[in-house]
Amino acid sequence: MEHANIPIAVLEAVLVFLILYKIFSARRGRQLYIRRIPGLNAIDEAIGRATEMGRPIMFSPGIRPLDLPTLQALSILRHVTKIAAKYGTRVIVPTCDSVVYTIAEEISKDAYNSEGRPEQFNPDDIRYLSDDQFAYASGCVGILTREKVASSLMFGAFFAEALILAETGHNVGAMQVAGTPSTTQIPFFITSCDYTIIGDEFYAASAYLSREPTLLGSLVGQDYAKAVLIIVVLLGIVIASIPWLNHHYPSLLTLFSKT
């Protein structure tokens, strides 16, 4: 798909319209309901556990450079460091990308500043480990085992290294919460973590944690957008099931991919 054709442009326009419409109506003050996402409530529990035990938290923002999943991970990081800073609990953030590292450092510094404890911010807690996937994993294993981490939070895009992080965390007895848009890694988080945030619950996290109207509105808009996709799929199934239709108009089934 090099360029949009008309059906794709129309579909995306509808999705974009729904999301933006809901964002702006939420900003005007409409109350919105969001269902409970247990894994996200567990984040606070994980911070509390680390505080009680007086041991640090490890937060891994995934191994992608700065892109959408990483940005979302950094939003969650902000939430985590703010609470942790309040209780004086260390959050160690190993990163896999220079740019992500700098933003993580800024977020962390900010969180301590806004809690009025700038002196407690330790720049050594935000670490750039490596751009190499498995060098990063080996470094995280080192942190998990040596720093006696009480809670391990993994949010962002992960690949094969997901299980290395999660099993090591389990072996050192850390409480673990993970969330990722990388569907292939979810089974491994489920088997090794206490709570796993599945699929687009990951993108719902910042709305859920911050209760910011813009984000809540966006989340509701996403629901509408998903409903549109469901309708499209159902229509397609109907068309495919009518032999006469797809015999005479076969292009109906390849409307979107036609160039």
Partner: protein
């Protein structure tokens, strides 16, 4: 005893005949065993190998960054007269304002540009990823042999219930609401189990490769 002696003398012979290869072999063996030692417990050898690995990877990426990106894409262009590429250096230097207390916002400009590019590409990304998936979901429920109908109907049911599970903005209050979402969750778990099972083979293949390296290249017991 005899076997160990023969093995040692074989390796000693290799060190004499081809020192570079022999050194490379022992370096790789050391790294392999050092990493595996974490399986028993965290220890000094693992720590050492971990640090060497991270250091070497950083050095390697720095070199590759110059040799494969900056030199061909940037330096060679400037030196062949495409002077506007100088602005790439200026843009790149803006990242470093992150270390300045007063001018940290300048780094925001370049972050903003990168984020803009990432988000602008999302429209294309969405289409590229989803068009085929949407059309692959158009599976007929009529006019095909019955096993296919069963299979297609199941696929449709799974797709719908899974998507319903991910609706956030309505309460799963009544049983009528809850049932599809719960069903969707069950299907999800089944799929996750299948994903887990199908990954095992790939990971085992990697392990076999490493074990073969130790047994064949180093110990010489497997042929």
């Amino acid at each position: 005893m005899h076997i160990v002696y023969a093995w040692l003398s074989e390796h000693a012979r290799q060190f004499v005949s081809n020192p570079t290869e022999a050194f490379a072999l022992w370096l790789a063996v050391g790294a392999t065993l050092g990493i595996y030692s974490i399986l028993y417990k965290e220890n000094a050898v693992y720590r050492l190998v971990e640090h060497i690995y991270i250091g070497a990877a950083a050095g390697y990426y720095s070199y590759i960054g110059w040799a494969q990106t900056l030199k061909p894409l940037w330096w060679d262009r400037i030196t062949s007269g495409e002077w506007p590429w100088i602005f790439a250096l200026i843009g790149g230097s803006m990242f470093y304002f992150i270390y300045s207390q007063r001018h940290v916002w300048i780094s925001r400009v370049i972050f903003g540009a990168l984020l803009g590019l990432v988000s602008g590409a999302a429209f294309k990304g969405f289409a590229g990823l989803n068009v085929d998936r949407i059309e692959a979901s158009f599976k007929p429920l009529w006019g095909v042999p019955w096993p296919n109908i069963v299979s297609n109907a199941l696929a449709m049911l799974i797709l719908l219930t899974v998507m319903i599970y991910f609706f956030f903005s309505f309460e799963h209050k009544t049983r009528l609401h809850r049932a599809p979402a719960n069903l969707g969750r069950w299907f999800l778990m089944f799929a996750f189990g299948a994903m887990f099972g199908s990954t095992v083979m790939a990971r085992m293949s990697l392990l076999i490769g490493r074990v073969w390296f130790l047994l064949h290249d180093w110990l010489g017991v497997a042929h």
